[in-house]
């Protein structure tokens, strides 16, 4: 039999009966620092998306405009930004209050997907660049990411929701880590 060591996060899931998804949110965002952190990430990501979606320009004048064809992308990008802020903050909370190593691959894939889809809105520039670096495959990839920008963003949202569910479980359920029997 292997020995078992139990590690529980600080404000544990003692409040039974409450939805773990809401409870985990309350645990983390009862502290101002995490609210500020999440807001900073959301705002930064939102600005990045807006720039790469070509909705915000700094030159020749500072101007933001939202044409009708960009409304859906803008809304999805902002949903991603908010979810990203929440999930990253919750992961930081788990990381700081637990000895368990975070392996939240869904967070990584969701954020990289959403950044990629944002950048590739304006990736016409990648045409020549990708031909020179990756050959014709590069253009195909660039065209794919441009064509499927909205589905990719929806996929990002789904992955971030999964990441939120996953980190909520870490926060609200007792974490049990198994160690191999040293006497073996």
């Amino acid at each position: 039999m292997s020995e078992r060591k139990k590690t529980t996060l600080p404000p544990s899931s003692s409040s039974k009966g409450q939805n773990p998804l809401i409870l985990s949110f309350q645990i983390v965002f009862s502290k101002l620092v995490y609210i500020v952190f999440a807001a900073s990430i959301a705002i930064a990501f939102s600005i990045i998306s807006t720039i790469f979606d070509q909705l915000l320009f700094f030159y020749p004048i500072l101007v933001f405009y939202l044409p009708s064809d960009a409304v859906v992308g803008f809304i999805l990008a902002n949903i991603i930004a908010v979810l990203l802020g929440i999930v990253v903050s919750m992961n930081v909370y788990v990381f700081r209050h637990s000895k368990i190593k975070i392996r939240n691959t869904s967070l990584l894939s969701a954020s990289s997907l959403s950044v990629l889809s944002s950048i590739c809105v304006s990736c016409s520039s990648l045409g020549f660049f990708l031909i020179s670096v990756l050959g014709t495959v590069g253009v195909t990839v660039s065209a794919f990411v441009s064509n499927y920008q909205t589905p990719l963003r929806l996929l990002s949202i789904a992955l971030l929701i999964w990441a939120y569910y996953s980190v909520s479980n870490k926060l609200t359920k007792s974490c049990v880590k198994s160690y191999p029997n040293s006497s073996k």
Partner: protein, 223 residues
Amino acid sequence: MASLLVFVYGIYASYFHTDTYGQNSNEKIKALPLQDLIRNGSPFQGKVSAPITVIDFSDFQCYLCNRFVKNTEPLVNQSYIQTGKVALVFNHLPNRGFDSMGAALAAQCTNDQGKFWQFHNLLYSNQKAIDSGWVSKENLKNFASRIPGLDIKRFDGCFDSEKYKSFVQKNIELALSFGFKETPSFIVENSNGSSQETMSGALPFESFKAVIDKKISAGCYHN
């Protein structure tokens, strides 16, 4: 956070760069007078006597170019082209997909018969996903057949022989010489080719207004 913003601005600057040429004597200027552009066969709208020229480098498969055509160009047209202040010249920068070159060649063939802007508007209003076949050779011929008054035999001859391949290639080389990597990209200049300013991206009307009004108020153009 600050370093992140600096990083983002760095990427932004490398993508959406803007430059002013011809104001510093040390800079190399590739003069592009309106008369020369027209003589070489670039499609244009507006008066030949317009003091300011906007050169648009676009791709028919690029949806940001379509955004410019739908949202910005009508306002530029109404405020500056119709009033004789600006001439808009179209240059090809087919870099979005494999079918982009064909679309550029077909469009240039319609220019032979003075139908470029009808074809231009027709393609942008029917734009679909990149390389989905919407600008295949067959579809381009179908689009051309929908333009009233276009001699289809003459168009087919021009298109099938790739008459304007070297012309489009020169447009691409010109774009690259200005450092344009993305579409749409623009040169705003006095119509004699001086005082060039480059802009990249599907900029809103306000951005063009700022640059054009500055040039008009400076009154530094000489035709």
